[in-house]
Amino acid sequence: MTVAAAPILEFHDVTVAYGRRPVLWNVDLAIAEPCLFGVIGPNGAGKSTLLKAALGLVPVVGGYVRFFGAPLARVRGRVGYVPQRETVDWDFPVSVMDVVLMGTYGRLGWLRRPGRRERDLARHCLDRVGLGGLADRQIGRLSGGQQQRVFLARALAQEADVYLLDEPLAGVDVRSQEQIFQVLAAVRDEGKLVVVVHHDLRTAAEWFDRVALIDMRLVATGPTAGVLTPDNLRRTYAGRVELLEEIGRAVAERGRTP
């Protein structure tokens, strides 16, 4: 028997409450291998909260979250983050390059300014997400998909081993969604774990290797085809029966295609 290495990301008995309202309840989830991992569930199910709990942005009432077996504070440099697009004022007077450079601040510390190495890295990340020529544009003058990709480039500039993305495809047109997913898949292929909070079941079935269904608690987790069954979907999205049946059928079909 081989000794198991610590999982890349582990949630143990995680409970999060805002005031007296519980949002996440007893979540036990471990991701051991690098993959493209989706967190799926209805609105208000606590998906974003799960990521924020991992990053220490919301207080965890019970349980803990570990990265590579260690608390976040010890391995911050290995964790990258893409927050939701609405949290930012896009009228802020910064350029695309400025935003992507912020990804390097973690390594630079307080006093050092970004230098040539950081700028080259930033340009490389921008090229990866397909925004190569837009480095000097003010961020308010980008489309939704471009803004999302700027955030992704910033996360890539963090040069992390685990990436947590919160709704990176919200409000993005279909073509940009494809592009973003391709970048994420490439990152996964480099041996990184990519965790994505996602709202759309159809694309979820298409892209993710593994998923977790969340509805204030963990409903099911595992390889996508096995998890997105009509039964599980019914338990998660209680009340939307017809839709679920249809999606369940679509998922089952895809699962059969090689």
């Binding site: 924020k52 990053l55 220490g56 942005l57 504070a73 911050r76 964790v79 983050y81 927050p83 949290t87 930012v88 004022d89 802020f92 007077p93 910064v94 350029s95 400025d98 935003v99 912020m102 601040y105 973690g106 307080w110 006093l111 300014r113 970004p114 003010q138 308010g140 910033r154 963090q158």
Partner: protein
């Protein structure tokens, strides 16, 4: 009591020597006031930009109104009314008011504008009541503390100007050093927290900087007007640039220009109060910026009508 006079006497000749090459129309008093007010104008513009970017332009207002309580309390507790003492009191109460403001927002879950209104109203009312109480009791030296409301720019002494300049320079230096952290937290505090920055601490530092500039601006423009110096130059600067670094610099320069122009204008005719002229100049710069700035300016946008509406 008179000990301060001989040391000051050594100063002015130095200043006079330095002023030699300058225009003969600048007197010592004008230079002193210029030195003090110009540095405050620059630093207030810079600090105010950070507050504006953090979407809290009214912290300056809250701090300014809260200083009155501190001025009165400092006088009551120490019995002295020299500038450093009163400013120290003003600083304590301004910071306290801002702490209460943050507290109301975060923990009492009050809305932003309601919380600001509460802090401004309560602290200003308490301050006025305190000063009225001092006046009514006839405490010696208590007269004229309300001058802090309106400022007495023309009567800045060399010592005062030095204090103002020192604090302003320290503020600008701090912003220059920690510039990227302030911008990071102002732009995306979730990301900043995720990479391990102490967002609460940086936020507090930012707000404290504004409080310090407001307090330091009290003698230069008075409590009521110093808010204008903190808010107007950044708003004007935003019209001209889309880069944060340039916006900070431009806001500082606009504040500086307003200060210099206001001070010089008040030397032209007797009876022109200096503080209000500084603020009026800043407002004029803002109006011009709104009208004339490229891309965001009103005139600019009018002159670039869609093709179909232009005459062929």
């Amino acid at each position: 009591m008179m000990a301060s006079a001989p040391t000051l006497a050594a100063w002015p000749p130095l200043v006079a020597v330095a002023a030699g090459p300058l225009d003969a129309g600048l007197t010592y008093n004008t230079l002193v006031v210029l030195a003090g007010v110009a540095t405050v104008g620059f630093a207030a513009g810079v600090a105010g930009t950070l507050a504006l970017l953090r979407r809290r332009p009214l912290v300056g207002d809250a701090a300014a109104h809260a200083t009155l309580v501190g001025v009165g309390a400092a006088f009551l507790l120490t019995g002295r009314r020299d500038l450093p003492t009163l400013l120290a009191g003003a600083l304590v109460s301004a910071v306290a008011a801002l702490v209460v403001l943050v507290f109301l927002r975060r923990i009492a879950r009050t809305r932003d504008d309601a919380a600001t209104a509460i802090v401004i109203g309560v602290s200003f009312g308490a301050g006025l009541a305190l000063l009225a109480g001092i006046t009514a009791r006839g405490l010696p030296g208590g007269a004229g503390l309300e001058q802090f409301l309106l400022g007495h720019t023309a009567a800045l002494t060399a010592q005062d100007a030095l204090l103002l300049a020192a604090v302003s320079c320290a503020t600008v230096a701090l912003v220059a050093v920690a510039f990227k952290e302030f911008v990071l937290v102002s732009f995306d505090d979730a990301f900043a927290a995720a990479i391990g920055r102490p967002v609460g601490l940086i936020d507090t530092a930012l707000v404290a900087l504004v409080a310090v500039m407001v307090v330091v601006g009290l003698p230069a423009a008075g409590a009521v007007l110093v808010t204008a110096l903190v808010v107007i130059p950044p708003v004007a600067a935003r019209q001209w640039t889309t880069r944060v670094g340039r916006m900070l610099l431009l806001a500082g320069l606009f504040g500086l220009a307003a200060a210099v122009a206001g001070v010089l204008a008040s030397t032209l005719r007797p009876g022109l109060a200096t503080g209000p002229l500084v603020v009026l100049t800043a407002a004029a710069i803002c109006v011009v910026s709104f009208a004339v700035a490229p891309e965001r300016g009103w005139l600019w946008r009018r002159s670039t009508l869609p093709a179909g509406e232009e005459s062929p």
